[in-house]
């Protein structure tokens, strides 16, 4: 299990004039916690996720995962991209086993695990399909199955359901929750959708833009396992209103 610690992190792009993308970000994610980074577009939430992933470097500040600094991307921090980012020339199966295969993991180890994860994501019948033959929601499920097969302890999800239609998005959220319930990875989930953040997360960090900073941290008190009925309740809507007010500031 893994935890993430971020202290006074800044990200400045050295353009003229310099753009402050992130300022004084403080963030602690406990092992197995589900955290949502919520904010309008341009607030730096994706930049923050890219820094945790190791795709970008912070300008100043501390970022550590399990007490060691993050220097580069790696399999312990699985990323689920907005547009799935599957290799279009590989079948679903080859996409899912790509990670362990390039890492030199024995086939006897990754094969059963890949089968299990594909089954968990409801993709068993589509092993031989190419990504282009799948719907957007199914491609995202492959994207999730691929990081689960690697055994990533941390899932970094960058608006993974943002491009999906409303019904598909809801069923993907339920699927993600049930998988999270079973495997308990640490999740950092970037979204601009308040309902999505509240429905999924233990903790919601509300971000504001220009410069990107964390404006508020809210504990989401709802019991688990959660079901869709939750999103129609009064408590849920009261929290939603509270966040909306925060975002207006």
């Amino acid at each position: 299990m893994s935890n993430i610690e971020i202290k006074n992190l800044n990200k400045i792009y050295p353009t003229t004039p310099p753009v402050i993308a992130l300022e004084g970000v403080e963030l602690q994610v406990k092992s197995g916690e589900f955290v949502a980074l919520l904010g309008p577009s341009g607030c730096g939430k994706s930049t923050l996720l890219n820094i945790i992933a190791g795709f970008e470097q912070s300008s100043t500040g501390v970022l550590s995962v399990d007490q060691s600094p993050v220097l580069r991307p790696g399999p312990e921090r699985g990323v689920v991209f907005q547009e799935a980012a599957l290799f279009p020339w590989l079948s679903v199966w080859d996409n899912v086993i790509f990670g362990p295969k390039v890492q030199g993991v024995a086939r006897s180890i990754y094969e059963p695990r890949a089968k299990e994860m594909l089954k968990l994501m409801g993709l068993s019948a589509f092993e031989a399909s190419l990504p282009v033959q799948l719907s957007g929601g199914m491609r995202q499920r492959v994207g999730i199955a691929r990081v689960l097969t690697m055994g990533s302890q941390i899932l970094l999800m960058d608006e993974p359901f943002g491009a999906l239609d409303a019904q598909t998005r809801l069923s993907m959220q339920e699927l993600l929750l049930s998988v999270w319930q079973q495997l308990k990875p640490t999740v950092v989930f970037v979204t601009h959708d308040i309902d999505e953040a509240l429905f999924l997360a233990d903790t919601v960090y509300v971000m504001s833009s220009r410069p990107g900073r964390i404006q508020a941290k809210l504990e989401v008190p709802f019991d688990r396992p959660r079901s869709l009925e939750l999103t129609a309740g009064g408590d849920f809507n009261r929290m939603k209103l509270e966040i909306l007010k925060q975002m207006r500031h």
């Binding site: 190791g54 390039v102 690697m150």
Partner: protein, 265 residues
């Protein structure tokens, strides 16, 4: 569907048939004798060029078609193989590594504007009237197209695919081999097709000047002795070879890029 195809076929053949009819009519004029042979004369000349018995009479072309096609074809295969064996890895390197690009790309871009035909005298001086000179030109012609397109393909790899691969723990070599190369494949095939076309141009030009066999040599030789039927049959043969070799690449491309064919539907 069948009707639709038949319609396409019929429409496609109307213009060529008209041209051939006009050609037959115009070339039958006595004034044109010795300048432009009729289509029928070309067919007859071609036939004897292919099947004629060598060694009888004064016709030096009898029965030499297949061997000349094979001389030219072999040169193209040799030169073009060198072109893509060097061009694809180099293009990947140039597209991928900034250092390689800054070091080598200006050199290639500096030489590229020199047309391959301008290399002819230098090539003959260097290699003499031998196969190597011809193969060098074919290589050069194919190489530029392959390297430029491969470089472009390797530069245009989707950033998220690279990030996804890095996230899954690839090393530099795996990234090149498993992500950059397949991503660049469509551009590589574009380069191969363009390059092969230029290689055929190069083989004809070089055989006219730098060697004493092949379709290009026969083309120029037949012109000199006034065998315009052979000249025209030779031109059609070159076109045919170019078409067939391009079809071969398209065939391989369809197989290698199956995933892309599905994408376009």
């Amino acid at each position: 569907m069948v009707q639709f195809r038949l319609r396409k076929l019929v429409l496609a053949f109307i213009l060529p048939l008209l041209v051939i009819c006009f050609w037959q009519y115009a070339a039958s004029d006595p004034d044109m004798a010795g300048i432009v042979p009729t289509p029928l004369a070309v067919l007859q000349g071609w036939q004897s060029w292919i099947w004629g018995q060598a060694g009888l009479g004064l016709n030096p072309y009898l029965g030499t078609w297949a061997s000349n096609v094979s001389y030219s074809g072999t040169r193209v295969i040799e030169g073009f193989t060198c072109a893509f064996l060097l061009g694809i890895p180099l293009g990947l390197m140039l597209g991928w590594s900034r250092l390689a690009s800054e070091l080598i790309d200006p050199f290639i871009q500096g030489l590229r504007p020199i047309p391959i035909t301008a290399w002819l005298p230098f090539s003959i001086a260097l290699f003499g009237i031998r196969d190597v000179g011809s193969i060098f030109l074919i290589f050069l012609g194919g190489f530029y197209a392959v390297v430029v397109n491969t470089t472009q393909g390797a530069r245009d790899v989707d950033k998220n695919l690279i990030r996804a691969a890095l996230m899954m723990g690839v090393n530099e070599w795996q990234l090149l081999r498993r992500v950059v190369l397949p991503s660049a494949m469509p551009s590589i095939f574009t380069g191969l097709r363009i390059g092969l076309g230029i290689s055929w141009t190069a083989v004809i030009v070089s055989e006219m000047v730098a060697v004493k066999s092949g379709l290009g040599y026969v083309l120029w030789d037949a012109y000199y002795v006034g065998r315009m039927d052979i000249v025209l049959a030779d031109m059609v043969s070159i076109g045919l070879m170019g078409f067939l070799s391009d079809s071969l690449i398209v065939f391989v491309e369809r197989y290698v890029l199956r995933w892309r064919l599905l994408q376009n539907h």
